[in-house]
Amino acid sequence: MMISNGIEDEEKWLAEGIAGIQHNAFYLHRALDSNNLREALKYSALLLSELRTSRLSPHKYYELYMRAFDELRRLEMFFKDENRHGCSVVDLYELVQHAGNILPRLYLLCTVGSVYIKSKEAPAKDVLKDLVEMCRGVQHPIRGLFLRSYLAQISRDELPDIASEYEGEGDTFMDAVEFVLQNFAEMNKLWVRMQHQGPLREREKLDKERNELRDLVGKNLHVLSQIEGVDLEIYRDTVLPRVLEQVVNCKDELAQYYLMDCIIQVFPDEYHLQTLETLLGACPQLQSAVDIKTVLSRLMERLSNYAASSPEVLPEFLQVEAFTKLSNAIGKVIEAQVDMPIVGAITLYVSLLTFTLHVHPDRLDYVDQVLGACVKKLSGKAKLEDSRVTKQVVALLSAPLDKYNDIVTALTLSNYPRVMDHLDAATNKVMAMVIIQSIMKNNTCVSTSDKVEVLFELIKGLIKDIEGTSTDELDEEDFKEEQNSVARLMHMLYNDDPEEMLKIINTVWKHIMAGGPKRLPFTVPPLVFSALKLVRRLQVQDGDVAGEEVPATPKKIFQLLNQIIEALSVVPSPELALRLYLQCAEAANDCDLEPVAYEFFTQAFVLYEEEVADSKAQVTAIHLIIGTLQRMNVFGIENRDTLTHKATGYSAKLLKKPDQCRAVYACSHLFWVDDQDGTKDGERVLLCLKRSLRIANAAQQMVNVTRGSSGPVTLFVEILNKYLYFFEKGSPQITGAAIQGLIDLIKTEMQSDSTTSNPASDAFFASTLRYIRFQKQKGGAMGEKYDPIKL
């Protein structure tokens, strides 16, 4: 046999073959035109002899075959018309078998056979059986495949199917099934044999060539699926077992993969459903190199779609226990194919999971079962490094989230976290983010501490450093994003029952306390606020539950808060801790818990003293303290005095004069709470204001000394505004005269040469004056009060 030396040679041979066909076709047409049977047979045989070549690749051979095929169509027309050749079809059937060469002989026999069946002079089944048997004579893979494909082609319309004209009188569709099955089996054998045809080094080329031919084989399955008579019973009892027998026994990976896929694609879904066991039973028997995961994935995909197509089919799935069967099959396949890479196994589980989510959305136990199987597969293996595997695992874990839109569901899956454990740190984080995003997107509320426990177990990659992973390579922005997500998550943890809510908070705290200095600043505030929210809720309910033994009392919560914030303060993140202390103090105030509030304030002051060193931070902090303290009404006089005293003291000790000034006049509010029963200590207000005036003055002078010109009058204007405030509030110590004096002072300052004018402070002053003027004009009590002030 010649081995082709190149494409050029092949082209040449093809051209020769085509020329040979054309040449003989010319004489064939002439013979047909003159109704000369003898000549027609002679030239058709010569024409078909061109198909005896061994030199062409399947692709080229196909070209040649198609040309011969066209000519055979003409010949068939001629055979059909007995008037033209005067030879009965029975005689014709014998006559063509006189041809000495087998390939032309069988092509002619098939052609006449088709006419024979159409003539109904013999039962279709006998003719078909004869044809399919006789074709055994061609054992050359390519020539045999094409010959049998020709047989399949011409017999397609003549199969004795139900309701076809060839049915009846002993011809049943079963004969058609038998015929197609046999032809299929033979074609498959030839196809598989191709791989042994050439030298090993041409293996790749052979595989390619074989792939080109696969549809010839698959076509038979398609024909089978088209036979009306093949109902479920026939399919289950005859067709499928026979086809699978071929598939399994051929022991060829290419064929097995293609044919399994073919079976899944051509036969109806309900058949697959009812024959799952058989179909799946074949899977573990396939060669280990077969890409069985794709096959099964496609099957499950089809079944999923089928389930989705109409709700009426769902009972069928239950009835046949589709899930259990699929699950078992996958288990067996994985067991059987020891070489299967882990990614393959996981892909299979992903498919199974998708399937069960579609078909049995209510069966969480199935989902858990799949995950459990996955865990089993993964157990004993090191953390997954292969990115393809982790990708599949992420897909696996994301599927239930997408389906249920509800993390809560996933939280009940005991195997879910165990699967996550097998992910490497980075992927684990990715997965945790997916979970959090899912919660956010769906606004899911996680409402029990158990679930919270599970949830935080799942996302622990974000919550704390996992051992053995270096944190150096972390991207700062990613980290922030992650921690912000965790923070947002905390607001989704909610239960109406305070007791449970407290448990939730406890649980969360338990988890996040391990987060380390980098995480706590992100995670503590939301938790604190969450706790405070609970406090406020309790406070509202207070009346209802009073007297009962309640586990969740504000007191307890505040104790917890204290711990939490303390953790933050040692991080250290003093400013944040300070704010939170103040928040807590305020809440405690609202709960009428004086000692608690006092404690929080103490903590805040301690922090201020010991940790807040930056002067800018101090300014902010002191203002916060003052603001909070002002609103406190829970303190007794003594406590309050202590705290206000401290606050004013610190205010006066700020570094920069303007800061001092502002802090001090802010302190004035500590002595005048504009409530019904608030402190109204006009004396001390005035003291504060005067003191701030002094400081402002000192500041002015300092500027004068250092720069040679006075600073702006802004501070004075601000103090003036304070005066106006307290004046209006009716503090007896703040008099119109004092205001008058201050206005004059400012005016003088502004006119002084040494003062640099500042448009902002000028405008501020102007609008302050405008306000006074407005009040005067408005008249009434306030107008009268303002009256004495001269502008």
Partner: protein, 359 residues
Amino acid sequence: MDWAGLLGWVSIGLGDLDLIKFLFFQFGAVDFRSDPNSLSPVSVFPIRGLDWIRLCIAMNYIIGAFKPACHISFTFFDGKSRKQVPSKKENGQTLMVPLFQSQENIVGKISIEPVSGKKVEHNGIKVELLGQIEMYFDKGNFYDFTSLVRELDVPGELYERKTYPFEFSTVEMPYETYNGVNVRLRYVLKVTINRGYAGSIVEDQDFVVRNYTPPPSINNSIKMEVGIEDCLHIEFEYNKSKYHLKDVIIGKIYFLLVRIKLKNMDLEIRRRESTGSGANTHVETETLAKFELMDGAPVRGESIPIRLFLSPYELTPTYQNINNKFSVKYYLNLVLVDEEDRRYFKQQEITMFRLAETS
């Protein structure tokens, strides 16, 4: 030499289905391109055919020199209804001649008509029925195994057309007409007008004899396992050991072991004609049919069907020791060819017989 060209003229004027079949086989189907080692097609038909043609030309020459004095024609009693079969003459032409079988009555008339009123003197007229065997190494020397004579007329003169009835009753004709490579067996009716010194006028009428045999009561199949150790084991089966001439050989070849790369497999029908006896025995083997059974390389467990129609081939029954002069035997030869064109074959004798045609 173009084999098809040699046979081309045979078909002229014949529309018979059988002949079509024959020709189709010969012309259309067998393609020898693939197998240069096979028998040359020319050898299927003996070169001696050409010698016959030469001989006939010589005879024509002689007859042309002495114009026949009278015209002799044969009419058979049942000539209209009797079957005619083609028979190849010495000059290569095919004539339709009547067909008889043993123990039939050969009855008819012979009419003799002198040419244009010339009278023909003769010393008596006779008709002979001869059964002759002619060996080609001994050409022209006929061995008559049957010879019957009927006197038609006493010496006298013929003036006008005269018709003589003749009859040979229940003639024993045990042997069939046969045209072989080295031997010919023929039957002839020979009219002789004895004219003494002027030379006798002789006219021949050939006829063909075919004898029919009933189907054999025992007809076993041929079944055999053959092979080359650790290389090729096959089991083949032909459904019968005795076939009639229009029979079909049905069978199969089962591959038990295949370790060589086969290319194809043919079934050949071979005729073995042995002539003479003792030291002078001469054996000639012809391949009458070469029928491709399989294309490509089978694997273990494959079973290849055989269905070979015998009607397209010019076969005769098996002849055992015809008058101690010759024998004709038939063989089926199964030939497997591997990719290096090595041939493996197994030859099996089959018995051919002629079954009475039912028509």
